[in-house]
């Protein structure tokens, strides 16, 4: 069973994550935790020294965290973005597409299911922040879109 999944080579940061509000007051913290109602854009001026952003999913049906992660990546953030909470194998492929590169689900995931989920989609329709060339780019011969 998979309790923690990470797609990065750097060392796992163990510093405790502070809330977005607390981060506003002490912006030297290295790790921040975003709740669904938080505005990820508040972090943009400080991205250079944040090593980990945790995006919490209290319920998997609340999809605000997908936008939060993508906004951070679009702003050039290169640190870890970890999905925590009610995260299951059926969500991780889309999460990867939105810039998540670590997963710490409440309930461990089946290893074979994880592998299948991540390898299933050979192609994608949209350009996002995962560097994959969308189908329209492949059709028109610009694989590095």
């Amino acid at each position: 069973m998979v309790e923690f999944l990470r797609f990065r080579d750097d060392e796992v940061s163990e510093s405790p994550a502070v809330t977005v509000d607390a981060f506003g007051e002490q912006s030297n913290a290295g790790a921040v935790r975003i709740e669904p109602g938080d505005d990820a854009r508040e972090l943009l001026p400080h991205l250079a020294h944040i090593t980990r952003v945790e995006v919490n999913f209290p319920v998997f049906g609340d999809g605000r965290g997908y936008s939060a992660a993508r906004i951070l990546r679009e702003a050039g953030y290169e640190g870890e973005i970890r999905a925590v909470g009610d995260v299951a194998v059926d969500q991780i492929a889309y999460m990867r597409r939105c810039g998540f590169d670590a997963f710490e689900p409440e309930k461990a995931m089946n290893e074979a299911d994880v592998k299948t989920a991540l390898e299933r989609w050979e192609n994608v329709y949209q350009k996002t922040v995962d560097g994959r060339a969308p189908i329209w780019a492949l059709r028109h011969g610009s694989a590095d879109a």
């Binding site: 936008s67 949209q126 996002t128």
Partner: protein, 544 residues
Amino acid sequence: MYKYDNYDQQMVDTRVEEFRDQTRRRLSGELSEEKFRPLRLMNGLYLQLHAYMLRVAVPYGTLSGAQMKALGDIADKYDRGYGHFTTRQNIQYNWIKLEDAPDILADLAKVEMHAIQTSGNCIRNISSDHFAGAAADELVDPRPYAELLRQWSSFHPEFSYLPRKFKIAVIAADTDRAAMRLHDIGIQIVKNDAGEIGCAFYVGGGMGRTPMVAPLIREFVPLDDLITYSEACVRVYNRNGRRDNKYKARIKILVHEMGKDEYTRQVEEEFAHLKSQGIEPPLAELERIKPYFADPAFKTGLSDKIDRTDPDFALWVDRNTVTHKAPGYVSAVISLKPVGGIPGDASADQIRLMGELATEYSFDECRVTHTQNIVLPHVEKARLKDLFDVLDANGLSSPNLDTIEDIIACPGLDYCSLANARSIPVAQKISKRFAGSGKTAELGELKLKISGCINACGHHHAGHIGILGVDRKGVENYQLLLGGSEAEDTSLGKITGPGFSEDGIVDAVEKAADVYIANREDGERFLDTYRRIGMDPFKEAIYG
């Protein structure tokens, strides 16, 4: 019409595999119903009162003959020999077994079809004008733009867990045949003063318990910003739409509460940012799609003459055919509203037959309308009588398009787990009453729409006459609304007053119709008379 390339086919095939795997995990108990629910919904599978219901996507309402026939085969093989065409230009099957669902999706994939995102809190099937490519008044065919949006919205990784469902319609004529301004996003393809084609964006319309007509938020989005602008509209919604109350979660509430100006400001800001992200497909992609929707090889030099000797045929021609852009052709509408029938239902044999007729008479194309009928878009006038005879022999020749018998009705309490009241019996009684009294013809265009609950799947807010079924202390009760319209003169109906029993509502509709007949002036439709004389004379007749 659009044809999948290897990429499109692979996406749909992959989805079938994914859903097969999810269904297997559900059946083995590995996946709880709570976790499975949104996954099955995103594949169009609902759990209804008696069985699972599967909703199949018909992108922008367009089908080939072979696709239509395949829908008939599915009705026989997996359902009870029927299909139900819906107000979102889709088809539903009401008696599905969960373990069959992956096989049905596989059968659909063989004819380039799917049930992807026909439910769930994601971007749904893109709807459009059912006369696209045939209408004399359109600027361009809206379907290439709808197809571009279909691909963008399919498996969208950021927008699959939105606050609520999200519906987009695309039209390209001033006459609105798709209820465009009653969608979450309504797009009208327009030409600007410089003669360039672009998109007018209307955002925040919808029916449901809080009906709203979408305001215009941008008059002209250039074509090479269509996807980027759409992404900005949906992202602002995903981040800010209410999630505390599912009845206030649609984008119409956000636009209303935030104000159109503030919503627009945020969209423009997000749009400016997203422009730097290079997420827009090149215009070459639109150019790749367009030829699939090129005009078929219309014959030239055809006569416009129709032999009207047979009075039944002449009536059907007058009622059920619509002007076509090519001389010698019409669009023919097959009514799925036989008197006393279930609106939108067709038997497997009828569905297959309509597929064959599409191939034989209409360049292999047919359309599903949001009014739950089927269109053969390109029929030669000289062959109309032959077509009519086949339809007539198979119970498909009801001459009642846009009349009071052409009722939109949701499945209601006969099938739906959300409904408070039955819709189908009310529709049946009304069509029988007016067909029996012969008033249908006298009333002319009169759009009647019935919903069995406040969710408004039967578009009751937008009916010239609308009926809403509610539950009053355990008894089905029906409210009457007057004055709605889903066309370019979009308006929302108003409730007349206290509700009625099932038979009472039929009487009330008849009284309202009589007020119109007594008060109308030359050329006025029911809706025009209502708008001129107001609610009072109707109230007086109904409750007086």
